[in-house]
Structure formats: structure tokens, C-alpha cells
């Protein structure tokens, strides 16, 4: 027995000798680039060097490389924005025919929405925009101005009608906690182009953070490497990005050098490729410390650009986030998600379809359109899929609170997408005379997810991850690519 053990010890010594030699011959190239090939065998070496955010291979030729998802938290009213219903205006005040609502469930069933059957006509004026004559309310003239760039999905459908569960559903395809969000699936599938910024970034603006918080950009059972990294509007853009007091960049460099040298020594001693990853993590952290402030520094942007978005320098805003989204994608970030609150228009204080709705539309209209225009001006729109929408829409019936508002509605609501190979100047689906449900081409959340993945060159049925004995997908066992939306 002793001899056997001595044998393996001898082999271990060989291994350490080899690594040591290798290290000293390679270290001039840079830390973290040690090839462990002949040491650990090819497969392991591959794994050791593997970088999960390295641009991955899609399943087929992609139309889009990046995604910017403007998440309108709270549920924007499609009936005051996109889905012009003259019949609803004419019959405002009438009861909705029983056939529409029989057996349906709504939020606030036991309180403010009890027996609410009265139709509420569109509160806003509408007009047509673009070559296809798409309707937009006068609240969003700028978005109307990019009608010819977008596909409007008028018949989006989801399963859950409370905010937090519905947000989870829109982001992860299920109301069950612990599943990965779309941004996590995408970065897991095709990695990221940037080596000095996170691949999946989340920004938020508005009166409050999104309901559900971190679950909305969580990686679920996927490695946490793929979870969304919140970029903050004030203070350090990324948590703990700034050095502690008294630590200059030079001092930080000296510290990281010491850490990495000691880690490298341990790598040699143990042969554990995980240390190689650790070394590279410290190098990337150091790079992020300069690239993230550079990203946030918009002083180099022209006045014309700032005016296009409506950015006020130094003031956190949705407009600022839209500009940052372009800058992120420019630098190789794969998936950017912007949350803006609050779109919850029940009619109560702070939630009216008049003043409060006007406020939120004003906050997002110009910048949303500016992002599409600016991406186009930079030649980036073809590669970047822009998505705009909330977790659900609003009912055609009014909800009587202090003012007439609208309740949550999941049967039909509007989202739009632009760029990334999406057909321009296009409408998918149609709703009935009241905008209650789809009469043509329903676009379920699963279908929207399948379509987004498709544009990125990913087959939603093949992008899977084995967990609890099952191959999980963003679209579960559902989803069809919405062919009518493809350019």
C-alpha cells in the first residue's frame, strides 16, 4: 500500500513541477492565461479555460445580436396607447356583454372591481402614424414617430393577473419561483461580447423598484454568472466598484498583483483550475473598475444626442437609462433590461388615467423612440432587438375608484418590438371591438419568448438546461415563433 501511495505522490510532484515550469515560461504573457492542457487532459483544460460569457454558438444564423428590453412595470393601458377602439368609445358606459366576461377572473374581484361591467371609452385622443397608418394616442407622439420601424403585437396574452407573479411570468415564462429569466437564458445560450462589463444588465427608473425585485432578473437554476447585474443610477454604477478610501488605482493594482501572485502559487500547488478562474475574475474586476465609469460618463455624447433622448446630465432618469442601454450594447453587453414604474392605472391616487398616466407617458415617450432612432443612426438597429411592454394590459371595463381607471387585464394587451430582424411598419393580431380579447393571432408570452430567442439564432426547444431530471426551457412545453413578425 505504501508503495502505491508513494507512486501517486511522485506523480503529484511531477504535476507540480510541470505546472511550475509552465507558469514561469508563460507568466510573461500574463496571469490567468496558463495552459493546463497537458497537465489536466484536454477536456478538463477546455473546461478550465472555458469562459461562459465567450460569444456562444447560436443554433442557426441569428438576425439579432443584442436585446434591449424596456419593461413598463405596472401594466400600461393599451387602450390609451395603441389599441384604438372607436366602438368602445361609442358604447362607453354600457355594460360589456356577459359573453365576454363569463367565467373570467380579474384582480380586485372582491373589492374595487366587484361587478364592474361598465365599458370605459378611450380616455385619450388617437391619430394615425407612419405608412401603415398605425394608431397611437397623442400621449406618445414620439413612439408614433417610429411606427415604420416596429411590429406592434396587439394580442399579447399572459396567464397571471397580479403584478409580482405576472412580472415573473413575463420574465421567466412561469409564475413558479426559481426559474431563470430571459436575459439569463440568452447569456447562457450565446454568452456576451464584452470582456469588461457584465453580459446581462438591469437598469431601473421611476417612482419605485419593480415588484418582485431580484427574482425578475434571477438566473434560477442556471449558474449565478448569468443573473442580471443591476447598474445603479447613483453612487457606484456597479456595487463596490469604487476603491475604499485611501486606495488609489495604483494601490489597487499592487494589491491585485499580490493577490494573483499568491493565487497563482496556490494553483501550482493544488492544480485546481478554479484558481485560474479566480485570477481572471480579479483581472476582470479591475477592468470593470475603469470600464463601468467610462460607460456611465456621457460627457462625450453630443448635445444633439442628449437632446434626442431628453437627457439632463447628472440626473438619473429613464432617458438616461435609454442612452446607457445604447452605450452598453455598443460595448458588447448582450441583454439590457430597463424597468420603469409606475404604469398601474386603477384610477386611485397616483394611479389616474389622466394626470398620472400623462406623467409616465411623458417620462418614457421621447426616450423610447430616441433609443430606436439613435440605434439606427449608429447602424446598430439591425443587430439590436428592442422590446417595449409591461407585464399585462388593462380592462376595457372601468374600475371605479376615486376616478375611473382600468383593472389588470391578461387576455389582450399591446407590446412592440423594433430592429433585430423584426418586420418594420407591421401589426400582428387584432382584438375584438372592445379590445377585450384576440380575434386574430394570439401572441402568448411563450410565443413572444420563442420569437425573441429565434431572432438571436436560438431554437427555444433546444435551449435547455437539465434540472431535477428534466430539460427545462424558457418556453416550458409551449411557444411558437410568431412568423408574421419576422422581417
Amino acid at each position: 500500500m505504501m508503495n502505491d501511495l508513494m507512486g501517486s505522490q511522485a506523480q503529484q510532484m511531477d504535476l507540480q513541477q510541470f505546472t511550475r515550469r509552465h507558469f514561469f515560461s508563460q507568466c510573461s504573457i500574463g496571469l490567468g492565461s496558463i495552459a493546463l492542457g497537458s497537465l489536466l487532459g484536454d477536456d478538463l483544460a477546455k473546461a478550465a479555460r472555458a469562459n461562459p460569457f465567450q460569444p456562444g454558438k447560436p443554433h442557426f444564423q441569428p438576425r439579432a445580436k443584442n436585446v434591449i428590453y424596456m419593461f413598463m412595470a405596472g401594466g400600461p393601458s393599451q387602450l390609451e396607447l395603441f389599441d384604438w377602439k372607436p366602438e368602445l368609445a361609442r358604447r362607453s358606459g354600457d355594460n360589456i356583454p356577459e359573453s365576454f366576461i363569463r367565467g373570467k377572473r380579474f384582480a380586485f374581484m372582491n373589492s374595487t372591481f366587484k361587478d364592474q361591467k361598465k365599458l370605459l371609452g378611450p380616455v385619450k385622443q388617437f391619430r394615425q402614424h407612419g405608412q401603415a397608418g398605425m394608431w397611437f394616442s397623442d400621449n406618445i407622439p414620439h413612439i408614433g414617430g417610429i411606427a415604420d420601424e416596429m411590429t406592434m403585437f396587439r394580442t399579447c396574452k399572459t396567464n397571471l393577473f397580479n403584478h409580482a407573479p405576472a412580472k415573473l411570468f413575463m420574465n421567466t415564462g412561469t409564475g413558479i419561483f426559481g426559474r431563470p429569466s430571459m436575459g439569463s437564458w440568452v447569456t447562457y445560450g450565446i454568452g456576451s461580447e464584452t470582456q469588461s462589463l457584465p453580459g446581462f444588465v438591469v437598469l431601473h427608473s421611476g417612482s419605485r423598484g419593480p415588484r418582485g425585485g431580484a427574482a425578475n432578473w434571477a438566473s434560477g437554476f442556471l449558474p449565478t454568472t448569468y443573473q442580471g447585474v443591476p447598474l445603479r443610477g447613483s453612487g457606484d454604477p456597479i456595487l463596490n466598484l469604487a476603491n475604499p478610501a485611501g486606495v488609489s488605482a495604483r494601490r489597487q493594482r499592487a494589491s491585485i498583483d499580490a493577490i494573483n501572485k499568491l493565487n497563482l502559487k496556490r494553483l501550482v500547488a493544488t492544480g485546481d483550475p478554479e484558481i485560474n478562474t479566480r485570477i481572471a475574475s480579479y483581472e476582470m474586476a479591475y477592468r470593470m473598475q475603469s470600464s463601468a465609469p467610462e460607460l456611465m460618463d456621457i460627457s462625450g455624447e453630443s448635445k444633439a444626442t442628449l437632446d434626442l433622448y431628453g437627457v439632463e446630465q447628472g440626473k438619473p432618469s429613464y432617458a438616461n437609462n435609454c442612452l446607457l442601454a445604447r452605450r452598453l450594447v455598443q460595448r458588447g453587453t448582450r441583454f439590457v433590461q430597463l424597468y420603469h414604474t409606475n404604469w398601474d392605472s386603477h384610477g386611485g391616487p397616483g394611479e389616474t388615467l389622466t394626470k398620472d398616466f400623462d406623467k409616465v407617458t411623458h417620462e418614457v415617450d421621447q426616450a423610447s423612440a430616441a433609443l430606436v432612432k439613435d440605434l439606427k443612426a449608429h447602424g446598430m438597429l439591425d443587430d439590436t432587438l428592442v422590446i417595449w411592454g409591461g407585464e399585462f394590459g388593462r380592462t376595457p371595463m372601468s374600475e371605479a375608484r376615486q376616478t375611473a381607471g382600468r383593472n389588470h387585464h391578461i387576455d389582450a394587451f399591446t407590446m412592440w418590438m423594433a430592429g433585430g430582424g423584426i418586420k418594420p411598419g407591421n401589426i400582428v393580431g387584432a382584438t375584438d371591438e372592445f379590445g377585450f380579447g384576440a380575434i386574430d393571432q394570439e401572441c402568448h408570452v411563450h410565443d413572444l419568448h420563442a420569437t425573441v430567442l429565434h431572432q438571436l439564432g436560438l431554437d427555444h426547444k433546444r435551449l435547455t438546461f437539465r434540472f431535477q431530471g428534466r430539460d427545462f426551457r424558457l418556453t416550458d412545453v409551449h411557444g411558437n415563433v410568431i412568423q408574421d413578425a419576422l422581417g
Binding site: P210, A215, V229, P244, L262, R466
Partner: protein
């Protein structure tokens, strides 16, 4: 340069890794065994059928194609239109053979539209199995574990083994021609076992004592001491809190704070007392229904009150009550059975023999509970209350002695009323309680609570052991779960213990022991441990002791070129595993090294510092006022856990947020972790504390570095390491001498913490040592258990 990284050996491309392991497990390695021992249905055949056939020809009756069922022998041998998938009368004529070898895509199975395809090896394997008689066997996990005989070993391997665990490990190593690694150095071993059992590093004094102790049972003595430490419960109990999805807020939209810490403290205490695991389970599922239930037994039922609560406007409460029961069934399945019971919520299970009807029978057990909040007074509060009660009584007695018109009466009445209001308050906690008027349970069509179907009575899945009480209640259910006849509970529990000590379970899919799970690498060891566990009074400490005192556990974790070739994933445990510490231990270790750790146990959650703005990401901007004094430096097990805005330093090291049961933590390795350890003010203050300690407790630079190594790494530095760090201190010192403002800025931090006690050498010296301490706390080895 690579971007965000993840451990290549654990989570990275887990799917590919898992596939590779399945393949290796089911075919490459075991195929070699097949020649010697014949085809084993559970090991060789069931995984292939499950993966490729059960989706359409399995337990789910609703989705079964052409009525053919291949998960049972009866189904496979039944005549359908005169054809049998397996024809026992003439095996060669079995339809299964024809279908899997057909070249015509219309007849070949699996069909082209299926997402699966049989490899040529799998076709051969299935064919051989059918030709040999197509014999089925019950899925291994549904058979009751029996104590396995110890395998016989060659003399050299027998000499290596220290206990029964090693005998099973050595037998597999012999089959795979793997030699074990030598025992780790004593210092390494002590650090490993201390971190594993208490989550705290050994002190330099403890290390020196252990190294000096040459008695043959020196290690066993250390282990026994650690098992008796109150910190044991804080470490091992935290694992159970992961499975219980414990957190201190409601989740969903509002994420309101909740008082739940009495349950957390109950878990830590029960783990420390080594409450027998069957009792531990029964009390958490139905402690409230035990005869004369005590307060702790009621607090224990908080296990299933850790579900989230949606308090946003407009919710249908019944919907979320039903959702929380779905969560309870899924959690019970994963944690106590290693079964994906949740899969049968909407339809029959696709792979395991659990029907949707059986799912709603389980639902019925959970459906008849109320969900109250009760007071959970601690012993201290009870004592204060007793004192208070005595004083009330005293005043009342005085009052009753006075005449009605006595002038003293009024003021006395006033003070009595005041006193009564001042009854010492107690924290509350969420519990289960038996419901007076039972609810009727119905099956929900497709799991949709708005589509109730036929009425269901409580019952358990027929594939498992019998329920003693046919129409039992939640307590009977709890006793059924903890029954010695349950084939799964003990196996699943010892498997998670194994995972804790080796980084991976004997069953790698620790939450799926069903037919889609990866079969155990050491099935006999798993069963032996499970039986040992049950027969030793379900003592977790006994099994922990057995595992950590094994030769297998004591091996070095260093990579070996020969092992990397024959066993790249270390299935046969030719070495120990080297892995990053859990999030809590990362912080606790830094606290302990810096000497700032508070030993205080239990009580409401505390608020260690976190960067500004972290609470903005939830719907409501909650406050996070950093605790001061002792509470600032408590173990991370006591950090307040908001579900929607978890503490960033815990989250970045993969601590679960309590959204769902977590039976295994991911171990990522990212730049955000680097930023946290280097720049997070909470870690910087610990670097300051460590620097102060090094300067106070050691004189020369070399001795300070030695002490730092002892405190953070549990070992002595070598000459090169000493030189590297000395160089850093010297260069930092000279730079700080020039940039004295920077030195002052570093020291200002220490003053804030009341730690700057005029260190010798002044600000410059202190700042330089803070830089060195920060490097030590950032080392990979520091946050790794080797």
C-alpha cells in the same frame, strides 16, 4: 481575456457535465462491469428508457401514445393488436427490438419528432436486455434500503480503510483501478473539518495543539469537540434553512418584513441538540398536532410557513393559499423524498409512478391547516413575564385589601392598569394549526384551482410504503414521512450529508432520486449509511462523525494527473474535493480572523453594513440601518434576509434568497465576488480589524505575516509567500509615507470603528498593514476549503 467565470467543475455547463456523467455512469464505466455482472435493469436500462421512451410510454396515462406503457413489465409484455413490446414467449420477436433498430423513419422509435435519439450503444444495450429476458426491477429508490455487507478488499486497501465508509469507497476504487490520495497535513485537515462542522476556522492555538497531539485518536477528539460546539448548529442548521426556504420577509410584491426568527433559532438549536431526524421531520410537518404540543414543537411547524405571501392589492387569496400548498408539496418531495412530486400537479408524472390523483391525495393532508401567527416568548421573556405577573398579583392583592372609599385606591388602580399594559412583549412567529372545520379537497384539472374536479381523500402514493392510518391527518402524514419503512427519507438525508463533506452527493441529483435522476455512484454505501442512520436513532451527528473520521474524508484534495485521466470528475474519490466556502462562511471566516466575531447566538435578524442603495431594487425602499456594536459582527446566519433585496455580499456568493427550496448551492466564481471582497465597506472594515490584530499580537513583519496566514489560511507561509507579502507591506509603507492623506483616509475608517488605538508606527504603518490584511482576506485559499 475571459469575462465572467464560473467554476468549470461544478456549475459550468452543468448540463453537459451531467450528460457526460450520465453517459459515463450508464455506459462507459458500467458497461465494462456489465460483462462481468450482467445487465442491471436499474443501472443500465431504466435510465435509457426513462430518457427516451417514458415521455410517451410512461406513467402519464393522459399523454400515453397507443396505450403502450414501458415503465412496467405488465405494460411492456401486454398484447396489443397481437403484438407485444416484449414477447416473453419469443423474445426475438419483441416489437421493441424491431422498433429501435428499424431504418424506416415511420416505424423507428423514438420517432424523428422526439427530441431524443438512442445511441448505437444504447440500442445494443436494450437489445441485449430484451434478448436476455427483458426483466424489470423496481426502481432502486423505491426499494427499502437494507444494510449491505461490507465488500471484501485486498490487503493494501483494507489497511487504508479506517471505517466502513472506506471499505465501500475502496471497493469501488479497486474496480476502477484508482488509488486513494495520502492523508492531508494536520493543519489542512483541522481547517477543513472545522469549516465543515462549525463554519469557523481553527485558531492558531487550536492548530498548534492539534499538530502537537500525537495520540492516535487526536483527530477523533477534535471532531468530538467540534460536534459539541454551539457553532455546529449555526453551520449545519443553515443547510436545513436552505431547504426550508427560510427568509425574514413575505416576498412577492410588497415583501413586507416578517418575524420568523424563532423558527430559525429552533432549527439551530435542534441541530445542536441532535434531535433524532425522524422527530425533527415530524415536528416540522405536524408538531402542532402532537399530543400536548409544546411551544418549540409549534414553532417547528414554521418549516412550511416559509412560503411567500402575496399582499399586493387585488389578489385572490385562495389562489395564493393554493399556490403555497403546491410549494409545500414540491418542497416536501424534494427535501424529504428526493422526488419531483411537483411534476404531478397538472398531470400524471412523466417519469415516476406518481399520478395526478395521488398528488391531490397529498394535497388533502396540507389543505386542512390554518396558518396563524403566534407569540414565541424566549426563556428570558418568560422569566420577565413571570416576574411581571407576580407584581400584578401583588398590586391586586393590595388593592383588594383596601376599602372602597380609601383614598389610596385610585392611584393604586392607575398604577395597576399601567403595569398590566407593560407586560413584556414577545416576538411572534408563523406556524401551522389544525383547522376546526375541514376543507373539501378536489383535484384541480391541469393544476388550475379554478377548475376543481372530483373530491379527494388524504392518501399517499401507492409506489411508496403504506400509510398506517388509512384516512389520516397531517400528523399521520408526518409519521408516514418519518417511518422506518420510507425507502427515501434516510437515503436523501445521508446523501445531502455526503454532499456537504465531499461537494457532491453519492446521488449527484440530490433532489431527484426518481428515474430521471443520476443513479448513485456507490449504491451500497448509500444504503449502508441510510440503515446506519436509522438504526443509530437517526442521529445526524453520528453520521457526520462517521464520515469525517473516514480515511476517504481525510485525503488531500490536490489534483493528481493520473486521476484526472481515469476519473476526471472524481467519482471514485481518489482525493478530497477542494471548493469555495458558502456565502455565510466567507463572511464568518473574515469576522473570526479579524477577531471581531460576536459569539452571540439567536434572536432577531441583524443588519451588517451594506452599500447604499441596495434596498432601491424592491418595490418599497426599505431602510437598512447598519447595526452597531456586537450585532454588526454577528455570524451571517443571523443577517436579516429580505427576499427581494437580499444582502448583496451573501447573494454574490450564491446564498439562496428563500424563493424556493434549495438543496444544493451553486458555487460561482465571478468578478463581482472580487469587487465585494476588495471594496465592500463591510469587508474593508474586517481588513482593518485584522491589521489591528496582527499589529497588536505580533512584533516583527515576518511574525505578523505568519499570524495572518495562521488566521486566514490555517497554515504557515513559505519563504516565497513571506517575501511577497513583506514586499507589499514595505512598498505600501513607503508609498503611504509620501501619500500621507491616503494613509489617513485608511486609518479614518478604523477610527470610525473605534479600533485605532494609536498603533505603533502611526498611520503609515497601520495603512500598510491594512493593505496586507486585505490581500490575505482576498486569497482564493482563504475562501476555499481544501
Amino acid at each position: 481575456m475571459p469575462s465572467f467565470f464560473v467554476s468549470p467543475f461544478i456549475p459550468l455547463n452543468f448540463r453537459r457535465l451531467a450528460e457526460a456523467t450520465v453517459l459515463v455512469g450508464a455506459l462507459a464505466v458500467d458497461l465494462a462491469n456489465t460483462e462481468a455482472v450482467g445487465i442491471d435493469f436499474n443501472r443500465d436500462i431504466r435510465p435509457v428508457l426513462s430518457e427516451n421512451c417514458f415521455q410517451c410510454h410512461g406513467p402519464d396515462a393522459a399523454k400515453r401514445k397507443t396505450g403502450l406503457r414501458l415503465d412496467t413489465s405488465e405494460g411492456a409484455t401486454e398484447a396489443r393488436d397481437g403484438v407485444r413490446a416484449i414477447d416473453l414467449a419469443d423474445l426475438a420477436k419483441s416489437e421493441l427490438l424491431a422498433r429501435i433498430t428499424a431504418t424506416d423513419p415511420d416505424t423507428r422509435m423514438p420517432p424523428p419528432e422526439a427530441n431524443s435519439r438512442l445511441t448505437p450503444e444504447q440500442v445494443t444495450l436494450l437489445s441485449e436486455w430484451v434478448k436476455a429476458g427483458g426483466e424489470y426491477d423496481r426502481h432502486w429508490a423505491f426499494k427499502k434500503p437494507v444494510r449491505q455487507l461490507l465488500p471484501s478488499l485486498a490487503a493494501n486497501r483494507r489497511a487504508w480503510a479506517k471505517n466502513a465508509v472506506d471499505v465501500f469507497i475502496a471497493a469501488k476504487q479497486a474496480e476502477a483501478s484508482v488509488m486513494p490520495s495520502p492523508q492531508a497535513a494536520k493543519a489542512t485537515l483541522l481547517r477543513r473539518v472545522s469549516l465543515d462542522l462549525t463554519g469557523l476556522p481553527p485558531s492558531p492555538v487550536q492548530i498548534a495543539a492539534f499538530v502537537a497531539d500525537t495520540s492516535p485518536d487526536a483527530f477523533e477528539k477534535v471532531v468530538d469537540g467540534l460536534l459539541q460546539s454551539p457553532h455546529y448548529g449555526e453551520r449545519l442548521g443553515r443547510h436545513w434553512l436552505d431547504t426550508a426556504r427560510y427568509a425574514d420577509s413575505d416576498g412577492y410584491s410588497h415583501d413586507a418584513g416578517r418575524s420568523m426568527w424563532p423558527y430559525r433559532d429552533w432549527v439551530i438549536d435542534a441541530t445542536n441538540r441532535d434531535v433524532s431526524f425522524d422527530r425533527f421531520v415530524i415536528e416540522q410537518l405536524a408538531g402542532d398536532m402532537l399530543p400536548d404540543a409544546t411551544l418549540p414543537q409549534r414553532i417547528a411547524t414554521g418549516f412550511h410557513r416559509n412560503t411567500q405571501i402575496n399582499t399586493e392589492g387585488g389578489v385572490d387569496k385562495e389562489q395564493f393559499r393554493v399556490d403555497s400548498i403546491f410549494d409545500r408539496i414540491a418542497t416536501t418531495g424534494e427535501v424529504m423524498f428526493g422526488l419531483t412530486l411537483g411534476c404531478a400537479q397538472c398531470h400524471d408524472h412523466k417519469f415516476d409512478p406518481i399520478s395526478q390523483v395521488e398528488y391531490y391525495r397529498l394535497f388533502a393532508f396540507f389543505n386542512n391547516a390554518d396558518e396563524p401567527r403566534i407569540e414565541a416568548p424566549t426563556a428570558e421573556v418568560l422569566a420577565r413575564r413571570a416576574e411581571h405577573g407576580a407584581r400584578v398579583k401583588q398590586l391586586e392583592t393590595e388593592l383588594s385589601a383596601l376599602a372602597k372609599e380609601d383614598a389610596k385606591r385610585k392611584p393604586l388602580e392607575a398604577s395597576l392598569a399601567k403595569l398590566k399594559k407593560a407586560r413584556p412583549s414577545a416576538a411572534t412567529t408563523l406556524v401551522m394549526a389544525k383547522r376546526g372545520k375541514p376543507r373539501t379537497t378536489r383535484r384541480f384539472v391541469q393544476g388550475d384551482f379554478t377548475r376543481p374536479a372530483e373530491e379527494m381523500q388524504p392518501g399517499t402514493p401507492s409506489v411508496l410504503h403504506r400509510l398506517a392510518q388509512p384516512d389520516g391527518d397531517r400528523l399521520d402524514f408526518a409519521r408516514w414521512v418519518a417511518d422506518r419503512n420510507n425507502p427515501l427519507l434516510a437515503r436523501v438525508a445521508v446523501n445531502r450529508m455526503w454532499q456537504h463533506f465531499f461537494g457532491r452527493g453519492i446521488v449527484q441529483t440530490e433532489n431527484d432520486f426518481g428515474s430521471q435522476g443520476i443513479p448513485p455512484t456507490h449504491p451500497k454505501l448509500l444504503d449502508w449509511l441510510a440503515v446506519e442512520f436509522m438504526e443509530n436513532g437517526w442521529s445526524q451527528k453520528q453520521i457526520h462523525r462517521l464520515i469525517v473520521t473516514s480515511a476517504t474524508y481525510r485525503q488531500v484534495s490536490l489534483r493528481r494527473a493520473d486521476l484526472e485521466r481515469v476519473d476526471p470528475y472524481n467519482k471514485w474519490l481518489g482525493r478530497q474535493a477542494r471548493f469555495r466556502l458558502d456565502a455565510e462562511v466567507v463572511r464568518d471566516l473574515a469576522l473570526a480572523s479579524s477577531g471581531l466575531l460576536s459569539a452571540k447566538m439567536g434572536g432577531p435578524g441583524v443588519f451588517p453594513p451594506q452599500p447604499e442603495g441596495c434596498m432601491d431594487l424592491g418595490q418599497h425602499r426599505k431602510t437598512w440601518k447598519a447595526s452597531s456594536g456586537e450585532d454588526r459582527f454577528r455570524r451571517a446566519a443571523y443577517t436579516y434576509r429580505w427576499r427581494n433585496t437580499p444582502h448583496p455580499a451573501l447573494k454574490v456568493f450564491d446564498a439562496p434568497a428563500g424563493l424556493a427550496a434549495c438543496t444544493r448551492r451553486i458555487r460561482s466564481n465571478t468578478p463581482l465576488q472580487a469587487l465585494t471582497l476588495m471594496n465592500d465597506p463591510a469587508f474593508v472594515e474586517l481588513a482593518v480589524g485584522l491589521a489591528r490584530r496582527l499589529m497588536a499580537e505580533a512584533d516583527s513583519a515576518a511574525n505578523r505575516i505568519r499570524l495572518g496566514f495562521q488566521l486566514c489560511l490555517g497554515r504557515e507561509p513559505d519563504a516565497e509567500e513571506l517575501r511577497l507579502l513583506t514586499g507589499l507591506v514595505e512598498s505600501q509603507r513607503s508609498e503611504f509615507t509620501v501619500q500621507s492623506a491616503e494613509a489617513k483616509a485608511v486609518v479614518a475608517k478604523a477610527k470610525l470603528l473605534g479600533q485605532a488605538t494609536q498603533p505603533a508606527g502611526g498611520d503609515t504603518e497601520f495603512a500598510a498593514w491594512t493593505m496586507a490584511a486585505r490581500v490575505l482576506l482576498n486569497l482564493d485559499e482563504t475562501i476555499t476549503r481544501e
